[in-house]
């Protein structure tokens, strides 16, 4: 028996989403009242269509080649999550500078001076644009609040 490849996971998930939308549309919302379509009408019809097309997609994907993923694909996600967590402690812009510096110095092995300068320039540019010019109120961070 041929092994299933990872490609079928995506249409299976979209098929499940379709089923979920149909169920919620039919059970939690009205469908058609006094000759008029209600909240559940449109989503459950589209959900049904998605379920059908996802089924076709699963059959389609079985014929396709396997997709290759690298472990390194997850690094930017982990780094971004880390930056957001760090931002809660030290504030957004210090966290941003530390993130850019850390990525360049330890992950990409750039020189200390280059990593520091790039991080500071990026941080300053972002601070100038988003905080000073566009006045986006970024959180200060726990440490600054305690001080």
């Amino acid at each position: 028996m041929k092994r299933l490849n990872s490609r079928v996971i995506f249409p299976i998930i979209t098929g499940i989403v379709g089923v979920l939308w149909i169920i919620i549309g039919l059970t939690n919302h009205d469908w058609w009242v006094e000759g008029r379509p209600q909240s559940g009408f449109f989503p459950s019809i589209v959900g049904g269509l998605l379920l059908f097309i996802s089924f076709l997609a699963v059959i389609n994907e079985l014929k396709e080649e396997k997709t290759v993923f690298l472990l390194s694909h997850i690094y930017p996600v982990l780094a971004a999550v880390g930056m957001v967590v760090l931002a809660q402690l030290v504030g957004f812009f210090p966290a941003l500078i530390l993130y850019v510096f850390g990525w360049l110095k330890w992950f990409e092995k750039y020189r200390l001076v280059f990593s520091t300068l790039t991080a500071l320039i990026t941080g300053a540019a972002m601070y100038g644009i988003f905080y000073m010019w566009l006045r986006v109120p970024f959180p200060e961070g726990l440490i600054l609040k305690l001080i």
Binding site: W32, S39, P43, L56, H73, E108
Partner: protein, 501 residues
């Protein structure tokens, strides 16, 4: 003749040195803000509007017009260079603009984008000048029935964007529609598909979604190429190589001209907006263009059609705004607020009661369009150098832009969560070969379609015949049926021909 005199008078005022510099400043700031992922034209105009209050009304109005136009121009920059659309219409620009940049021709893509924006904008303003009030009345003919039919045509036309594998394209489109149904129902006002989360009550925020699905997914993808010496072919990153050849100018002119006209007419329809203008223009080019089937592979025609349609719609939106006081979009609403603050009271009698002010504004649009083009072209040599930065340095920088951009959309960490989730989801879509653009366009168009469709059925007490009883919607429905059935009819005709042979 009176119109020409008033317009010339408007030009005389607009071309003073003070006004010229105000427009240039507005154009520069507008491009920068428009290019910033997560800000977009609505927030861009809103953020920069207070700057115009420091000037006298005429200068302020010119700066306002420059801000409005340059925001439209700016959206394309980040879309072409880093594949993160600055605003929604730029989604279409990126379909050909970013592949062109990847081929080492970001300057060509940006030149095309700017020149097409100028052409589309100019066509829009010329049409506005000649038949502005009449155009506004045409837009008013679009009620729920006509809008539902128009949106159905647009949705069905997504098929032209679906790429090599229609099944995958359909999955993406339907998924986009379902995501758009989350949050408050636009007709009843009741929450739906919120899964008990207060954050999902207002649905999935669009800006974090687009920043994540285009931008952050790109960052994850870049991990594969970070150790390569060059991300893109950077040999041609000079101004000279960015200029369009005579052949390319000939190629972009027809799509820019027809998209400008189409975009203007789309722009006057309240609620249709620049995204629909850019989207339908691109689809028209894909359908009737000489090399329409090649669109999406880095063709200047694709960039020209999308940008001209976008700017034509931006100019067309002024017709209902000035003649009826109806803003066609969120950005239009902000502009309306600005105009009211200058004492201009848009409405049916505006062209008669305040001709100097109205024609002054229209003249400002011409001037703003020219100045924005000059500023935009001058920026290109500097901005294209961004592609010389290696992928390993770009990864943390683009990540921070994505994080800050998605946070600034609604000043909440929730935006970042959505952005990260959309980024991972977009990455899987790309890896499995599912197109992203249909998902986003369906997400944008679906609420308008559903709302108008349901309102149309409410008007008719559930009878679908209403779509055939109104002339505009009947034409659209016939067009829709012809489009959907044409592949089948072509196949049947082909078989009959083969059989007869």
């Amino acid at each position: 003749m009176e119109i020409i005199d008033l317009l010339l008078n408007g030009f005389a005022i607009a071309f003073s040195i003070k006004n010229f510099f105000a427009a240039a400043l507005g154009a520069f700031l507008g491009i920068m803000v428009g290019a910033m992922p997560g800000i977009g034209s609505l927030a861009g105009v809103a953020l920069l509007l207070p700057l115009t209050f420091k000037f006298d009304p005429t200068t302020g109005m010119i700066m306002l017009a420059a801000l409005y136009y340059s925001n439209m121009y700016g959206g394309a920059y980040s879309s072409v260079l880093i594949n993160i659309p600055g605003d929604t219409p730029a989604v279409m620009t990126g379909l050909d603009g970013h592949p062109l940049a990847k081929q080492g021709r970001p300057g060509t893509a940006l030149f095309t984008s700017n020149i097409a924006s100028f052409i589309g904008g100019t066509i829009g303003i010329v049409i506005l000048t000649i038949i502005g009030p009449g155009l506004a009345r045409f837009g008013l003919n679009f009620g729920p029935v006509e809008m539902a039919a128009l949106m159905a045509v647009a949705m069905t036309s997504l098929g032209w964007l679906l790429g090599d594998n229609p099944v995958r394209g359909l999955v993406a489109t339907l998924l986009g529609i379902l995501l758009a149904t989350m949050g408050f129902d636009a007709v009843t006002g009741l929450p739906r598909y919120d899964f008990g989360s207060i954050y999902l009550l207002s649905g999935i925020p669009f800006i974090p979604l687009v920043v994540g699905i285009f931008g952050f997914s790109q960052v994850i993808e870049m991990m594969e190429q970070r150790k390569k010496t060059k991300t893109f072919d950077t040999k041609k990153l000079t101004l000279r190589d960015s200029l369009l050849s005579r052949g390319e100018v000939k190629r972009i002119l027809p799509p820019a001209l027809r998209s400008g006209v189409l975009g203007t007419f789309i722009g006057v329809i309240p609620g249709a907006g620049a995204t629909t203008g850019s989207f339908l223009s691109y689809l028209m080019e894909k359908r009737i263009g000489k090399d329409g089937h090649k669109l999406g592979t880095g063709r200047v025609e694709g960039v020209a059609a999308a940008e001209s349609g976008n700017n034509g719609a931006a100019a067309g939106a002024f017709a209902p705004l000035l003649a009826l006081g109806i803003p066609g979009s969120g950005t239009g609403a902000v502009l309306l607020g600005g105009l009211l603050m200058y004492g201009l009271n848009p409405g049916p009698r505006l062209f008669q009661t305040q001709p100097e002010f109205t024609w002054g504004l229209i003249a400002s649009l011409y001037v703003a369009n020219i100045i924005t083009l000059i500023v935009a072209l001058m920026i290109i040599p500097f901005i294209i150098k961004i592609l010389k930065v290696p992928a390993e340095i770009m990864i943390p920088i683009i990540s921070t832009i994505c994080i800050l951009g998605s946070y600034s959309a609604n000043n909440s960490l929730y935006g970042i969560v959505i952005m990260l989730a959309a980024g991972v989801f977009g990455f899987f879509m790309k890896k499995f070969g599912y197109p992203i653009a249909p998902l986003l366009l369906a997400y944008v168009l679906a609420p308008t379609m559903e709302k108008n469709f349901r309102q149309a059925l409410q008007i008719s007490d559930g009878s679908m015949l209403i779509f055939l009883q109104k002339p505009i919607s009947a034409v659209l429905v016939i067009f829709l049926l012809a489009t959907v059935s044409s592949p089948l009819i072509q196949r049947i005709i082909g078989r009959i021909k083969n059989h007869s042979k």
